[in-house]
Symmetry: D2
Subunit: 362 residues, 4 copies
């Protein structure tokens, strides 16, 4: 199966290499009757697009999506939705120098071990370019959940290198190239990134994603717990090295009375759990945080070996994000949306007639 | 499907409530020809068993496993292996007082919302008791990988509340009730836990799991990346709120030149990546860390509501772990083992004839 | 995965060898709130049980099922349901003579090739004994569909050797050991079988299964068409060599105007299609027919080879069905029920809000 | 999930409506290192193409396939292979008259019930046009199995209406528009079809598919038996109403001694089982037969209802196959190839180290 499919009911399968003719995906299991146009999807893709600020890769991709099936007269039919994005701005010669070398910190070495062959241009299948299709598919899930259930999924930059946000102003997020919700930090981020680029270095980041108005009951213990599936989906994003839900690692040094979220008839008194208990959504805001490593595509030389096993060094020319976290927010949102959508359908399948007798508390 | 199955080729499906007649599982896809006895599995189960020290729940379960199928003349046949553990030490009356109340921090509230009905005794299906079957299944995976491939999976307590280990002595781990690899910390842990129990409180913990001698090439990008699958499996353990691979969250404030693991003909120069690059194992040691929240089963009262939505308080009598992290090590090992085993088979299926031309570097 | 799981939402995984300690299964994904007792399941199992007439194997199995999880206070909880049947009447010495020989027409040879090892006693995992668990799981599906949706699944013997039924009297089916709906044929079947047993021969049979009151809309083109899934489930029964839907093979020599089922506002004018069009149920009666081969367990000698590849002959002593078709009806019903149940949930997941604007026609 | 994916390890997901912009599929899990070009795939597609004789639909589709990913320097990389075929010869106005009517014998009525909406042009997703992608994907499987394992998959027309073949000359199959292996029957088929077309009628057909040189051991009892999976894959083809393996329905009236295939050190003495025993391949030729119903797209009027439930009649203008069986042979081959390929990988995953100690017998 080779792992290119996510979801059990709302299923997304993707294909496409960084420098191949196109990227694409098939979204299968979308309920019929959802109004859907290319513009709807394009909106989310444009948030992810490279070349829109000096802080991200200068590769200029139109990332123009086409809907090839599954939509008729502007409405989904319930049949599989084929999406396609043609690659237009590949510069394959940027990569020929490293065809025989394994860039440290990249997947070149592991792909060679696994497959014995790799499309080295632009990182081939291991390139973050494939995330465009995740965002495209995720936008369909977001639309359905927003329109039918009022569920919202939004992410933001929580930390970049040593710079941590100190306030959460939702309206600021789309007004700067960082998806930063703290307007006061933006100048600091700008100069930090400028310095980084001069240095030739890269840096890591942390993204938080919030899902609000989620109905209680989503998630399928014991293995397909909602938090387990979110961890899977988020950790599958290139460069992600950690995932936490709610208080996350802070719970290691928390006492039981501090951590547990008490309940009153008016609602929960806290949300240390991040909206998930026993692997099932409580109805509270779901909060997930991820850590993205600094990119290893640097013009500063790194020691490595070549195809013959000989010692060599490599520099990565070409156009790279000095902080992959900067463009990760739409991707993280998409992954959370895909998992929630899948579980909306799964919960509905098994538990349609359940009368819990309980109010929905937030 | 309801999410009680893990794995695609080495598949484990479990059943069983905390106070039901029995727990069980079916392991499907185990290669034939592996020597396997009940004693092999019992060994790992005994490491997880409650009631073996004053620091863990005093429920006394024999946790005696029976093999009901899939083994003939002491060897696996390739047919599904049915395992059964009978519950013997349920004290259901301990729970009757909370049949109508939702213990804060527990899954009671969410199970009621999802299913409209729940076996409240001992937490029913949401109880950590079901993890016994995970350990049982994981022991089969461990045995196969150790004997055929030399892969070892071992975990340890890395932090309990404010107490962090400072050395890693593998031989100490099984000599104390904490799976603590730092013998100097054991007295401190003992008195910390004694104080906690007097207080009636609970505390969180961090467990690290190491997999060594892993062949390069395991993992199936882009969704079934090895790290994504490990995150899924580990986050599915009760009480886990965070997962990190390698340096994890520390990479947020790491520079690219610091973080990337350079390669020489003799091997890697570092292992910030935790043994996984591009979602595929490098051959280096795989390191995963998890955070477990403090248990919410406390005799200190907590505010909550009852089935009628009225405000009330609840105390949890009965026998509970003040730190669920103490017994989590074998469970975390089992989850890592199950994922690796599944990917050993998956990689073999697709890439049997690959000649990578590369040496295995550690 | 090794193929021991059926279903995507209503999932059944089974284990157990003919002469092992027990058979069992896990039913995952059953909606909560269904009243369920061991007696409910036992009812269907008793229809399948051996040793109840002289025409079937004389092995006397109580086939007593236990529910080990997933039911609380007599109602399903939505958590996985573990079922267990202990084997009590194995006569393993009946088989020792053929431990080293491959009975022609049996799976011995292929199991040896595939696994390199086999539990030869009673055919091990390849024995039809495992079908007891299918019937057990199927009874849960039948109950849910009957009670919530009014769907009925019933099968009958349509042909045994040269004897074909000529009428369909539903009330006769459970009044004879053959599940024969034509009371006039029963004496003929009795004497045919007596002669067969004297001869030491065996014979094939055809079973038809009807599902009525099925809602339109079940099935998921293009691969998980309802008829494709029924074919899969039915062909997976031991000894089945053919499956047809509706007119089946008769359509090869049918003209288009004869075959198509015309529609009027009062309903369909015919049902050549067998209730499925384009892989989706129409609302008409679903009709599936299967062919079961004559058992190869004969006391008449057959030529074969042994483990060393040498020519030899084999006779099968022990207690065998001279016509496996006689006991197949409950199994075929169970398989149809499992597929329909799975698709009830799947259709509900994706298409809950569909307003087709059409009446349900039969 | 909506059922548009087949296979567990060699996975194919398709999309595309008859009159949409394009058809496509993603083949995931193909081993790396297989030489593959568009011409390789086109070869099989051209066998399926419409408009190549007067006996099939006159719609002229180039059916030109493009490889969008997963192949680098003419060799598969192990990453997902995206295939695309653009639709060029849609005549949507042919269908506007039936936008509001349900053609009897077609999926219009059931799609409307299931989804509440349908792309009616050319049958939308229910059109046999989607089978082009199955053939494309199947050609990759065929190539791999032929080159690495010597497995051949070939089909032929076994019966058309009342005309049955009487000899099997493999070299004739591609020399007539019918895939007929009996050259003596071709004139008869020609005149039969000419008469049919004048009449405005359609007829059914039977296709047989042979797989030779299959290694023993493929198939995963108890549910994913090889015959069960073949039945599923073949029954999923539009218009298929029946599947049989080996002697199929003829076994109903067969005696045990007649039917069982005895074994000698030189090989099997017969092949009534059709190459599969206990759901696992024996190494003998695998033979599957399918029945295809007569198409319901007729210019002879049929009674039906419209969207408002009122009685009406419908004729189908446009370009249709009077016998869909004529073009089905490549599709049936493709489905058999996909199942075998999947099981080659699955068997390898679990049973790589098996030493059966047995010779391969044919």
């Amino acid at each position: 199966m080779s792992g290119n499919t996510i979801g059990k009911l709302f299923t997304v399968t993707t294909f496409g290499e960084s420098h191949g003719p196109a990227l694409g995906c098939i979204v299968d299991g979308c309920p019929p009757g959802l109004a859907l146009t290319e513009a709807d999807i394009q909106q989310d893709l444009d948030r992810r697009k490279p070349g829109t600020s000096r802080h991200t890769t200068q590769r200029r991709e139109a990332d123009e999506v086409k809907i090839l099936s599954g939509v008729f007269n502007g409405v989904t039919t319930g049949t599989p939705i084929g999406l396609l994005i043609e690659n237009t701005d590949q510069r394959s010669k940027d990569y020929t120098k490293i065809a025989e070398t394994f860039r440290p910190g990249h997947a070149d070495y592991t792909y060679q071990h696994k497959y014995g062959i790799r499309d080295y241009r632009g990182g081939g299948r291991s390139s973050a370019r494939e995330t465009a299709m995740r965002v495209a598919a995720g936008s369909i899930a977001k639309k359905y959940m927003r329109e039918l259930l009022g569920i919202e999924v939004r992410g933001y930059l929580a930390q970049l290198g040593p710079i941590t946000i100190e306030q959460l102003d939702w309206s600021s997020i789309d007004n700067n190239p960082f998806f930063c919700p703290d307007p006061d930090k933006v100048p600091q981020l700008e100069s930090y990134m400028d310095a980084l680029r001069k240095e030739g270095e890269s840096i890591g980041a942390r993204i938080d994603v919030i899902a609000s108005n989620v109905p209680p009951g989503l998630g399928e213990p014991i293995f397909d717990r909602l938090d387990a599936e979110l961890a899977y989906a988020l950790m599958s994003i290139n460069a992600v090295k950690a995932v936490e839900i709610g208080d996350g690692f802070a719970c290691v040094n928390s006492k039981g009375t501090q951590f547990r979220d008490e309940i009153t008839p008016e609602g929960f008194l806290s949300n240390h759990a991040g909206g998930i208990l026993g692997g099932i959504s409580t109805g509270q805001v779901i909060k997930a945080g991820i850590a993205l490593k600094p990119t290893s595509s640097l013009r500063l030389p790194g020691r490595t070996i070549n195809q013959q096993g000989e010692a060599t060094t490599v520099v990565t020319e070409g156009r790279h994000d000095p902080c992959v976290g900067i463009r990760a927010t739409p991707i993280a949102e998409a992954m959370v949306a895909l998992v929630l959508m899948d579980h909306v359908l799964r919960h509905r399948a098994q538990n349609l007639h359940v009368q819990s007798g309980l109010p929905v508390l937030r």
